[in-house]
């Protein structure tokens, strides 16, 4: 797969072979006096849904999203149904798990909603969840948050806060069927280490739109692993900003987009503080008619953020005809005093010639396909670091692949 690295000009960076029909893989590094990441949004960030116009679909932040499948989350017609979503938290000793009212001072500190659905979620949730790992508490077992949809519509807010030098792994597991709009805040104290694995393993009809805000403290380490398999429409917006120097953020993502699914991951890393690091790697496989994956990777290096070191990459593997990828890395640099900044985006196809080559070496067709997909995801799966999730993921990839070989290719 061809890729652009530190490409100085706006241009297209895509695979050597013919790209899948209807795919875009454009990348840009802009040296800008002022960020366009913010200015190209239809409205400034706000907690109030009334501050955002109802999107019509041509706005920069909505142009890839099929609004008609949002089940009214974007235009105010979606109404919460009581009890349609069950949340269960399983936390080791020492962790404080609370359900709080809207006016709790700890809500909304990691970031502000940047689009209408995030603001809708913030304006509509009734109770919020707050999980606190006190300072210097080092957990050896993950905190597990099971979010299970039972066919309802819900607006949610979750805060996960780590005190100074606390260490924790949190697994947020989404299953079942729901229409869910949410904001999740991650607040990391100085020197804290947080790994969050968010699994979107929804049933086929689910709609899930969420903004994740991480505020990374001084010398803190944040790792986010986003795993998206299910749902009719999943649109996630993981965002990172830093509260002090020396912070590190790793954002990993893995998606498997099937026929008819829309899976959209929009990332923003705001290097708003000097001497911080970020590393973004998202990989997706697509198969089937009208499978649509969107990846937007915005990295902003503000003028004051000297000493920044950042890299972002998105790779897509298209397994069948009829799938579409839109991949847009965007790096904006307002200071030249940085350690490194790069991006890459590539969309490759697993095609009949590759299949023939592997088979000509004795490898049966379905094993060839598994080999390619497993190999493609391997480095990311290893990053998860939660055994049962890794195993489930590998098993899930295998079942996804059975559907494609079963479809008679």
């Amino acid at each position: 797969m061809a890729e652009a690295q530190n490409a100085p000009t706006l241009g297209s960076a895509r695979a050597g072979g013919p790209p899948p029909a209807g795919s875009t893989t454009a990348g840009a590094i802009a040296v800008a006096a002022e960020s366009t990441v913010a200015t190209r949004m239809s409205a400034p960030p706000s907690f109030d849904v009334a501050d955002f116009p109802v999107p019509h679909g041509r706005e920069e932040e909505w142009r890839f999203t099929p609004l008609e499948r949002l089940r009214g989350l974007h235009d105010g017609t979606a109404v919460a149904t009581g009890g349609g979503l069950k949340v269960a938290v399983d936390a080791p000793e020492g962790v404080v798990v609370e359900t709080v009212d809207r006016d709790d001072a700890r809500l909304g500190r990691a970031g502000t909603p940047v689009d209408r659905i995030a603001a809708q979620a913030y304006s509509a949730f009734e109770k919020a969840g707050v999980i606190t790992v006190p300072k210097e508490t080092v957990l050896t077992e993950p905190i597990r948050v099971a979010v299970h949809g039972e066919g309802g519509t819900a607006f949610a807010h979750q805060v996960i806060e780590l005190g100074a030098f606390a260490e924790a792994v949190v697994v947020i597991d989404h299953t079942g069927d729901a229409v869910l709009a949410a904001n999740v805040d991650y607040v990391l104290g100085d020197g804290a280490k947080l790994t969050v694995v968010s699994v979107q393993d929804w049933d086929d009809k689910a709609v899930h739109v969420a903004q994740h805000n991480a505020l990374v403290g001084r010398d803190a380490t944040f790792k986010s692993v986003v795993v998206t398999f299910g749902g009719d429409l999943v649109r996630l917006h993981p965002r990172v900003a830093y509260a002090g120097t020396g912070g590190e953020a790793e954002l990993f993502g893995l998606y498997f987009t099937d026929a008819g699914q829309h899976q959209e991951h929009r990332l923003l890393v705001d290097h708003n503080v000097p001497h911080c690091k970020s590393n973004v790697v998202y990989k997706g496989a697509l198969q089937g008619e009208d499978a649509h994956a969107v990846w937007i990777g915005d990295v902003l290096i503000e003028a004051k953020a000297e000493g920044t070191d950042t890299y972002e990459m998105n790779r897509n593997l298209v397994l069948t005809d009829g799938a579409r990828v839109d991949s847009v890395p965007n790096l904006e640099i307002e200071t030249g005093e940085i350690v490194g900044a790069g991006h890459a985006s590539a969309t490759g196809r697993f095609d009949d010639e590759q299949l023939f080559y592997l088979m000509a070496r004795g490898i049966p067709a379905d094993e060839a396909r598994r080999l390619v997909v497993r190999g493609f995801f391997a480095e990311l799966v290893q990053q998860i670091g939660v055994d049962d999730i890794e195993e489930r993921l590998i098993a899930r990839i295998e079942t996804e692949l059975e559907t494609v070989s079963g479809s008679g290719r």
């Binding site: 023939f356 592997l358 067709a365």
Partner: protein
């Protein structure tokens, strides 16, 4: 003794909504231990023969038979042919994103040998084979053919030949695009496999250059989709001096 028997092979391709016959009755028998060079001008159908034998789906067999030790090759799927002992070193090896060379080689060896090779001996086997072909060990961690130079791709093909030990190896223009050093290294690899006496080799080439390193037992001139003349190594010298004109311009194949 392994034998590949090709009888009156006819092959068509679909191009521009028309069916085009490319192979027009190929007859050839390759026995274990023998080396046959197939030489012919561009577009004469050499790669079509190689792909058809390997089972590429683009090519339709419209007539004839291909037997490997009496078994009907044309009835087998691509992977079955490889497991039966056919190997095709491709003129244009394919890039496979996401699959490392080491993973690919091991999966392939497991499929061909019918069991996973023991890890310790396998790692050593691969390392040594790579060293003989002057391939840097770092290639094992790279994705199959991705970003390989033309010469590296060809070496990688011969690496597979050495590891998979087929009964019949079809080498489609393994020499093209190689400089003299690479040509020598690749030829030595082919010769190592030939010296075992256990492989029948079908060496497809456009140039006589490689025949200085790999001595064929038989030379066949391929033109217009069939073999138009067969002889010993001396036929290659004649082609070297006279080119293919005699066979293409109103010659035997017209």
């Amino acid at each position: 003794m392994a034998t590949l028997e090709i009888r009156d092979l006819h092959v068509t391709v679909e191009a521009d909504n028309a069916t085009k016959e490319i192979l027009k009755g190929v007859d050839l028998t390759v026995k274990q231990g023998e080396t046959h060079a197939i030489m012919g001008p561009n577009g004469s159908g050499k790669s079509t023969l190689a792909y058809s034998l390997a089972g590429h789906p683009k090519y339709t067999i419209t007539g004839g038979t291909v037997l490997l030790d009496g078994e009907d090759v044309l009835e087998m799927s691509v992977d079955e042919r490889a497991r039966a002992g056919l190997f095709l070193a491709m003129q244009y090896p394919v890039e496979v994103p996401g699959v490392s060379v080491s993973n690919f080689l091991r999966t392939s060896a497991t499929a061909i040998r019918g069991e996973a090779p023991k890890l310790r001996t396998w790692v050593k086997e691969v390392k040594e084979a790579m060293a003989r072909l002057n391939m840097d060990p770092s290639f094992a961690e790279r994705n199959v053919n991705e970003g390989f130079s033309g010469g590296e791709k060809k070496r990688h093909e011969i690496l597979q030949l050495e590891l998979l030990k087929p009964k019949v190896a079809i080498l489609d223009e393994t020499d093209s695009g190689l400089d003299v050093d690479a040509l020598r290294i690749v030829s030595e690899g082919v010769n190592r496999v030939r010296e075992t006496g256990e492989v029948g080799t079908l060496l497809i080439t456009h140039y006589t250059r490689i025949l200085r390193y790999i001595k064929p037992d038989f030379v066949h001139v391929f033109s217009g989709g069939r073999i138009v003349e067969s002889g010993g190594a001396e036929l290659a010298d004649k082609l070297e001096n006279e080119g293919y004109e005699a066979y293409t311009k109103g010659g035997v194949s017209a």
